[in-house]
Amino acid sequence: MDLAAALFLGTVASYALACAFFFAHLARGGERSTRLATRTLAASIGLHVVFLGVTMADAGRPGLAGIHQTLAVLSFLVALGFLASMRRRRLTVLGAFITPVTLLLLLGAGLRGHVTEVPEHVRSAMLSVHIVVNVLGIVAFALAFAVALAYVIQEQLLRRKQLGGVFQRLPALDVLDALGLRLVTIGFPLFTVGVVTGSIWAAQLGRGSASLSTGQNFALLAWLFFACVLLARAAAGWRGRRAAVGTMLGFLCALAAIGGYLLQSAGGT
């Protein structure tokens, strides 16, 4: 086993452990489990940095060389974004929803053991912008997904009058709703730029809209969901459960888009 593979497994194991601690904290509460979960996540992020460094060194250059490395960076940024933004707001309990997403994205990055280079003839500045803004947009959407999931669970507990431990530990509905809106508002313009630059890049390569891949279709669907969520919030006063479900569906479409690109990459096209 080479160093990169060992680091990858170590990082995955560390995230899985952080995930377990976050679940324990959500289920049983207590300062100890919060501390353990946060520290384990911080350690996972540290390992993740080393893993990224080693894989970039292997690739011979920094950057987002292909879907797998993009996913590895994306999962890293999701974890980092969570730790940086939620800890200050005392919303670490949301780690129970965000660490599984991080883990899933990282596992996606490891579906193939090595980094696939982007073919020389399709590389361009537009592609770099497309990838960077998409990654940042999806980081915001991933965090919004975790917040929306927490909202849906909390709302169900409140309606079913199950006011036990999980209900007590999750934040107030209004706090989650406002945070979800903010994250989608941050992510949407970035994702929009990503979609536009992706379209321009595809046009430059002579790929028309008739030949959209599965990944591109899902990406457009995700964009549509988030656009509808923001529009309905502004125009029809959507908030609460509907907005949360819309956000979750949007992110699932974004995940499906990533899955499509992974399949495309595996197919060698």
Partner: protein, 442 residues
Amino acid sequence: MTTELIVVGVSHRTTPVELREQLAVDAERCATDLHRLVDESGLTEAVLVSTCNRVELIASTRERALALRAVTAYFNERTAPGALDGCIYEHTGVGAVRHLFRVASGLDSMVLGEPQILGQVKEAFTLAHDEGTVGTLLGRCFDRSFKVAKRVRSETDIAEGNVSVSSIACDLAEKIFGDLAGRAVLLVGAGKMGESAARSLAARGARLTVINRDPQKAARVAAACQGDARPMEALATELAVADVVITSTSKPDFLITPELMEGVGKMRRWKPIFFIDIAVPRDVDPRIGSLRNVFLYDVDDLEKVSRENLSARQRAAGEAERIVDAEVAEFERWMHSLALSPTIVALREKVRGIVLAEKQKVLPRLDGLNPQQAQALDRMCESIVNQLLHRPLTELKQGGEDAQDTVLLVQRLFGLTVDAEQPSPGESQAEAELEAATRRRT
């Protein structure tokens, strides 16, 4: 005769409110009564705790029987003859300590684990302290009771989850809206429980609007919370802007129906709204609970939460009692050492006196002692005292069932004349001796 702690009082467990309210005292009366009790009832220290659920005197005395009689008479003189028969309870010694620790921890409260009692006990103690009716024993006992209460609160779930309907309603509102500052609360009707819940929400910064069929009543309740009073006709308009709605009218049928809420929902663009229906029969049609962003809790829901929280507190109470037991045992050891103090002081003075007298006898025969030699002689004398006393002090400190016999034996062996009513400074010195003896032993 040794100093002993006593508790005499009445509480919600033994005495109806009609009698408790006759015994309750305000701060001014409390100060006067404390001095009177200390002067006339054979008490050395006294603290009077007076709350809506209990009136208790916690005191120390060297004449237990006399003090108990006098304090019981103090309670009886303020009610009709015989009215308090069977109502007044007494605790003495360790029982009194245990009672105070349990009271401060909320274990003896009407609402198990409620936190207000600790503040009330602290206030009573501060008042007595300022009046000069608190000394070493009571001071230590109260100080310990505050620490026990803190331990119980931090190490058990005794204070987790509110049990009063108004507090539960506030907690739920905070779980929906987060910070309640500036939120609009609408109180429809003015039942006592609804009013209490509205006041609690207003206390957390919410704006209150009161709607009632009786405009004067609405104005009175609104004025108490710096809120606004509105007529019943304004119900739909107020529902359109309210975040929390508390209903407690005596209307026989539903006041708030799905049809009304459909219209109101559109006006408010389905902003979340929380209904707390405390009325029986209910004011809010339960079908509106399934509408978008509408959350509805009726009195049964709130009482169910209250029962669950209370049940959780009762489970925690066992653990809390164990903490109290351990702390009482610790305090008992301290009281035991305090009771030993006069004997220890006398023993130390006796032995030191003998050694110093012998030193004085030999000094004239030791001509030409330089300062170092004189210092060495002093150290040797001190060492003899310490070594002689080490074993007796250790035995005394160990206490146990035959502690009193050991004290008497030491007194007899060393020919000590002990005054049990020695002042505190000597006791403090004796405590230090005991600590030193313990350190040497370990």
